[in-house]
Amino acid sequence: MDELWNMRGINLFNGLTRDEIEEVLRLAPPKSYRKGEYIFYAGDAADALFLLQLGTVKISYVTLNGDEKILNVFRPGDIFGELFLGKYRHRVGEAQALDDVIVCRICEETFLSLTQRFPKIALNFIRHLADSQRETLARTHALMRADAKYRLSGILLSLARRYCCTDPDWFELPASLTQEDIANMAGLNRSTVSSLINDLRRDGVLGGTGRSLSVNRTAIEALLEEAGLEVLE
């Protein structure tokens, strides 16, 4: 049996042996959160990164008008809170559990010690940062589009790439992610998103009924390419 298959699935641990991963886990004991609980708040000291084992976490902030803006959504295997090593030492958003969540927290001191002992972790971390930067640029590019349909499509593709695939071409978004969450990520209002989702369902780009939402990857990629937006591999 391969008990730690998921931890190996986290890019940070690529190339590490099972014993080495066990050691990491001893230093970063997992903690659980229930739906709605906060893992950190905006303004908290950014002194650790988090490995997500179970559930969905959103990072968001509230504007001066009281509107919520979602910066990102994370799924099992993802790393978040990783900017703790830079010069900006406070959280800009808050991390909230969207369902039952389990995370391992690695504090800065532990992380630095691990990278010295296992240089592969440092290399994997740099690769992770580069990939995140690339994905953020693609998402920003989509958000800069004035056309709401392409902004929404860019966000949906970015989410779909990270969710489970129930079919070679269909990606299922979890029910814990509401249309309001998607609207907040795309910088659109809820009614616009609802109407666009209906249109995209009619066009075969999206599937599912009610709260269930699936994304046809080929169709949404074709839509974005038609609009001149970049589609990552």
Partner: protein, 86 residues
């Protein structure tokens, strides 16, 4: 007696899976279903590699996890019976 552990979260799919497995176990003289909350043992969740709930664990191995409609079928239960009887 073999104990199968069902890890659940706080949501309905866990209830559904638990009820279905408890019903099934009543027809299996040597099988017992134990339900555990992921919040009571997060270390086990990480060690076992559980990434979605409900998750069914047999002999420290995750045999199924996620939306129970997708895995908790008659065929699955039959294969579980076969696996356990061997």
């Amino acid at each position: 007696m073999k104990t199968l552990i069902l890890y659940t979260g706080s949501f309905e799919p866990g209830e559904f899976a638990n009820e279905r497995l408890q019903r099934w176990s009543k027809t299996q003289p040597d099988i017992n279903i134990e339900r555990r909350s992921v919040h009571d043992d997060p270390v086990a969740v990480v060690r076992l590699g559980i990434t979605s709930v409900p998750a069914l664990v047999v002999d420290d191995e995750v045999v199924a996890q996620g939306e129970p409609d997708l895995w908790l079928t008659d065929n699955f239960l039959q294969s579980l019976e076969t696996r356990i009887s061997h």
